[in-house]
């Protein structure tokens, strides 16, 4: 649905130039929720603006719903944008218009007749849970309600793609949850494809099917969450399930086990102790339910060198667990 091919964007020139997006390629399948995560300054905001060409890339192509946007003339691009909704961290609602007026703006722009605009606005406001707020001005709404208006405005013209620029970053945790729930249910109901950028790992864990990790303008990893979690040494898996710093060297071997699905129900620690007679220390664990599946990582400490536990580790791997030996005693 969204395909970005070798896209780059540099701001400024000469020694002060900043390469915000550096040769990024990305594919988002239809109907999926795809999250791009990274700390601030990683280039996420620029990346999402490259998709609807609010920023024009210096190189590379952007294709959305089969249309290569980077090849379009300005007027054609405006039409293509009707198929791509966007929501923002600061909501970007017009203070001069009511809730209804803000939603209708999207339809005025596409030339929908006044009567149809009104009907569609009511319909979409019901869908986002703002029935009865149509006559209010944005200043009278809470942050969560404002973002609902933003979502209603973005979806009023029935786009197939929704871009979310840190849509929950200005909201409290409870409101964040309700907005994420809304996005997920809208995806299910309308068959939307959602690309979101966020610095909150929690957002990825809660609603994303796939994710990409961005750093210094580059995509370091991307893929479906299960695939990423099943990749040895995945940076994203580590960031999604942080286990903190390693303890000081003390003649032990430290392993990290990543599991998703059924394997979490297996008594790994007990098994190591019983079957292999190892005194296992639990250093950390991060376990959550993602998409109805128990997923997480545990960090275990085993006495002595790695060589002593080769059989045990092989046994765990044979069971389909992802085992990383993080440190081995000399």
């Amino acid at each position: 649905m969204i395909s970005i091919d070798h896209v780059s964007k540099t701001f400024g020139s000469g020694p002060s130039a900043v390469r915000a997006v550096d040769d990024v390629s990305l594919d988002v399948a239809g109907g999926e929720i795809f999250g791009v995560v990274g700390s601030s300054g990683a280039g996420k905001s620029t990346l999402i603006r490259l998709i609807n060409l609010l920023e024009r890339p210096d190189a590379g192509t952007v294709t959305v719903a089969g249309t290569e946007l980077t090849a379009l003339a300005p007027a054609e691009l405006r039409t293509a944008r009707h198929d791509i909704g966007m929501i923002f961290q600061q909501f970007n609602l017009l203070s001069s218009r009511t809730v209804r007026g803000n939603v209708e703006l999207a339809l005025e722009v596409t030339g929908v007749a006044a009567r149809d605009r009104s009907a569609r606005a009511s319909e979409i406001l019901d869908l986002v849970g703002l029935t009865g707020k149509a006559a209010a001005y944005p200043a009278q709404l809470s942050g969560g309600q404002k973002q609902r208006v933003g979502i209603a405005r973005a979806l009023a013209g029935r786009p197939r793609v929704l871009l979310s620029d840190e849509a929950t970053s200005a909201l409290d945790p409870e409101t964040t949850s309700s907005i994420l729930e809304l996005l997920r249910s809208l995806r299910d109901e309308l068959g939307l494809t959602i690309l979101l950028i966020t610095h909150e790992m929690d957002v990825v864990k809660r609603i994303c099917d796939s994710a990409a990790l961005m750093r210094d303008g580059r995509i370091l990893e991307q893929g479906s969450l299960p695939a990423l979690l099943g990749t040895p040494g995945s940076l994203l898996a580590r960031e999604l399930f942080p286990l903190g710093a390693l303890p000081p060297e003390r003649g032990t071997t430290i392993i990290e086990i990543t599991f998703s699905g059924l394997s979490s129900e297996r008594p790994v620690v007990a098994q190591l102790a019983r079957t292999h007679g190892i005194d296992v220390g639990l250093l950390g664990a991060a376990i959550e339910t993602i998409g109805g599946v128990q997923t997480g990582r545990t960090r275990l400490e085993l006495p002595g060198t790695e060589a002593r536990h080769a059989a045990a580790i092989a046994d765990l791997r044979a069971q389909g667990l992802l085992v990383d030996v993080v440190r081995s005693a000399a």
């Binding site: 609010l54 293509a80 944008r81 923002f88 609602l93 203070s95 001069s96 005025e108």
Partner: protein
């Protein structure tokens, strides 16, 4: 010398003031309307043709955008830096060229408008720059054209500020319109000069001042009230 004890003094005073107030309102009204249209257009162009503006490169040419912006900046700066009384005299040939006469109530509208437009254009520019870039971005993401961005997003969002700025401009035009009395521009300024200054009638001067103060107070009140009502921030 005017004799305030003469039996027809007061009726004449009222007749004079009534006519002069009508002339001032006409001058200020027409000037305000022209200034609103021209100032809004120039101020908007100043913002959107600036670097990073939505009309940064009209017809695909960055140079054209820079050119238009620089010319408008120069015109506005020039207009704002010439004192009104000098501008008024300097414009006499121009006024004669377009209206056939340089003197009279209507002719004075030309220098008034030429003075007020740069003033208001600058205020428009400042007000529009206050509109958050995110709102323009939201409009663009919806597929709005440049005209739609200006007419549906940028200007409506700036209305309260524009209204206050327009009120300030109209108040300035009222004071300028008194100055045009010097070159036979009619209105309340004309009364102040002919009766108050040349014929030493303190009553005329006081009456003119009272009317001007009342006029400014009413306009400021309407402007402020309206701006407050239209602001939904």
């Amino acid at each position: 010398m005017i004799d305030p004890t003469a039996p027809d003094f007061w009726p004449q005073l009222f007749a004079t003031l009534w006519k002069a107030t009508g002339e001032t309102l006409y001058q200020v009204g027409v000037t305000a309307l022209l200034t609103l249209l021209l100032g809004l257009a120039i101020g908007t162009l100043l913002v959107i043709t600036d670097r990073g503006g939505i009309l940064e490169s009209p017809f695909g040419s960055l140079a054209a955008g820079r050119g238009i912006n620089l010319v408008l900046q120069a015109v506005v700066n020039l207009g704002r830096s010439i004192p009104f009384i000098i501008l008024m005299i300097a414009l006499i040939p121009f006024t004669r060229l377009i209206l056939g006469t340089a003197f009279g109530v209507t002719a004075a509208i030309v220098p008034l408008t030429v003075a007020a437009v740069p003033f208001f254009a600058r205020i428009v520019e400042m007000s529009l720059r206050e509109v958050a870039t995110g709102l323009v971005e939201a409009g663009q993401s919806l597929g709005a054209s440049r005209w739609q961005l200006v007419s549906k997003v940028i200007i409506p969002e700036a209305v309260p500020g524009l209204l206050l700025g327009f009120t300030t401009t109209v108040v300035s035009v009222i004071s300028y319109s008194a100055i045009v009395g010097v070159i036979g521009g009619g209105g309340l300024g004309d009364v102040a000069i002919r009766y108050g200054h040349q014929r030493y009638s303190v009553i005329h001067i006081v009456a003119v001042i009272v009317i001007l103060v009342a006029l400014v107070a009413v306009i400021q009140l309407i402007g402020s009230r309206l701006a407050k009502r239209l602001s939904h921030r």
